[in-house]
């Protein structure tokens, strides 16, 4: 695990959020607030807007109504550069090696973490020179997780972080989120599987699709 340096403090306040995909209203009047060191698990059946919520928070989709306020950003900081998005499409290039993929994202995200150490954590050190196209879905997901480690950022938006991972991978995601929270980071994870988190006091759950 990386040393527990403190991450920049961020607080997310979401009020009256409504999102629409096409004609369909997925959710409305959604509100929550998340303090540093806290995690929010977004649960709910398929098609209730978990991914849409994550992508809206990431700034990829404009909300239909409501506001997302993120406190703690400095004036000159570009929105988004304090977030990591982990989505289904991992941005991994099949023709680059595992290490090249990671080094690329570290450079683009302005990270300074040690790539070898990050690959060690996710268990890909032994195949760092393999082209990423040969990786299995689970290994690709681990490589995407390594991207989060090499460039520490306070806000993690995780869309099904444990998809395609084995039991050990589930535990890895749990450990990563635990250590991220311990450093004062925020985490919003959309998932329909329970995450293996140690400190359940820090975790709130939001269920989509029940009331709507």
């Amino acid at each position: 695990m990386p040393a527990p340096d403190r991450l920049p403090q961020r607080q997310i306040d979401v009020t009256d959020l409504a999102c629409r995909r096409g004609e369909r209203l997925l959710f409305s009047n959604l509100g929550f607030s998340l303090a540093p060191g806290r995690a929010l698990l977004v649960r709910g059946p398929n098609g209730t807007g978990k991914t849409t919520l994550i992508r809206t928070l990431a700034g990829l989709i404009a909300p239909d109504a409501g506001s997302i306020a993120i406190a703690g950003r400095s004036e000159e900081e570009r929105p988004g550069t304090d977030m990591h998005l982990l989505a289904h499409a991992s941005g991994v290039k099949g023709r680059l090696t595992v290490e090249e993929n990671l080094a690329f994202w570290r450079a683009v995200n302005g990270g300074s973490g040690d790539a070898g150490e990050a690959l060690d954590i996710v268990g890909l050190r032994g195949i760092a020179d393999l082209e990423a196209g040969h990786l299995s879905a689970g290994q690709t997901r681990r490589l995407a997780l390594a991207r989060l480690i090499v460039a520490p950022r306070p806000i993690w938006l995780l869309d099904e972080p444990t998809a395609a991972l084995d039991a050990e991978g589930d535990a890895l995601v749990g450990r990563l989120i635990d250590s991220h929270l311990a450093q004062g980071g925020l985490c919003i994870a959309a998932t329909h599987l329970p995450l293996a988190l140690a400190d359940t006091d820090r975790i709130a759950t939001l269920t989509l699709g029940g009331a709507a």
Binding site: A58, L85, A89, G91, R95, L96, A107, V108
Partner: protein
């Protein structure tokens, strides 16, 4: 700056590992030039008079053919969404990609232009002016192409749409590009070509970044 260089390096690496992409464009460029003598007949005087136009049309077409790889792959594998949160601004990303695109699509054409010069019965001074006009004009063409590719990136099968969209807008480059090869025209066409090209290179990263910013929605 580290991210900027990383994008260029990644695109070049991917292109070289991806196999025949560069070679295909290059062959296409030479082929277009090579078939013209068969179509219009082996009249040397006529060929050398047509040569500037043919070279520019060939360069134009091969640059446009390569446009699709500019953003589409990144859009499909999710990289483009992640670039939104990168330390490198989107405009910087586009600028880096335009440079990579130019290095991959335009530079090989300029290197291969002697072949076309021979096929089209160009003399040495004309060939030099062709090289000069391509060096000045193709960055503008690549920049314009990036705007078209960014606008069409989220459309399924938008690959052919971008060339169709930007071809009318590229006419000034074509006019001044071929005009600057004509020895009689003097330098004014070359200067205008440089002006158009500079404006496009300066504006394109920001325009394309705007288009990319809404493409995920």
């Amino acid at each position: 700056m580290k991210g900027f260089a990383a994008v260029i390096r990644r695109d070049l690496t991917l292109a070289f590992r991806g196999g025949g992409d560069i070679m295909t464009l290059l062959l296409f460029f030479v082929m277009v030039g090579a078939i013209v003598p068969f179509a219009v007949g082996p009249d040397k005087a006529l060929l050398s008079r047509l040569a500037p136009g043919i070279v520019w049309i060939a360069a134009f077409l091969s640059l446009l053919l390569g446009l699709d790889r500019l953003f589409r792959n990144d859009h499909e594998d999710g990289s483009l969404a992640l670039f939104r949160q990168a330390e490198l601004p989107l405009a910087g990303l586009v600028a880096a990609k335009v440079i990579a695109h130019w290095l991959l699509a335009a530079l090989p054409l300029i290197v291969a232009s002697p072949v076309l010069a021979v096929l089209l019965a160009m003399d040495a001074p004309t060939w030099l002016r062709v090289v000069l006009s391509l060096v000045i004009g193709t960055p503008g063409l690549a920049a314009l192409g990036a705007m078209g590719a960014a606008v069409t990136v989220s459309l399924p099968r938008g690959g052919l749409l971008a060339p169709v969209l930007i071809t009318p807008l590229a006419l000034p480059l074509l006019i001044f590009g071929t005009g600057s090869i004509d020895a009689m025209a003097g330098n004014s066409a070359l200067l205008l070509l440089a002006a158009v090209s500079l404006v496009l290179v300066a504006v394109a990263p920001f325009m394309a970044a705007l288009a990319l910013a809404v493409s995920e929605d």
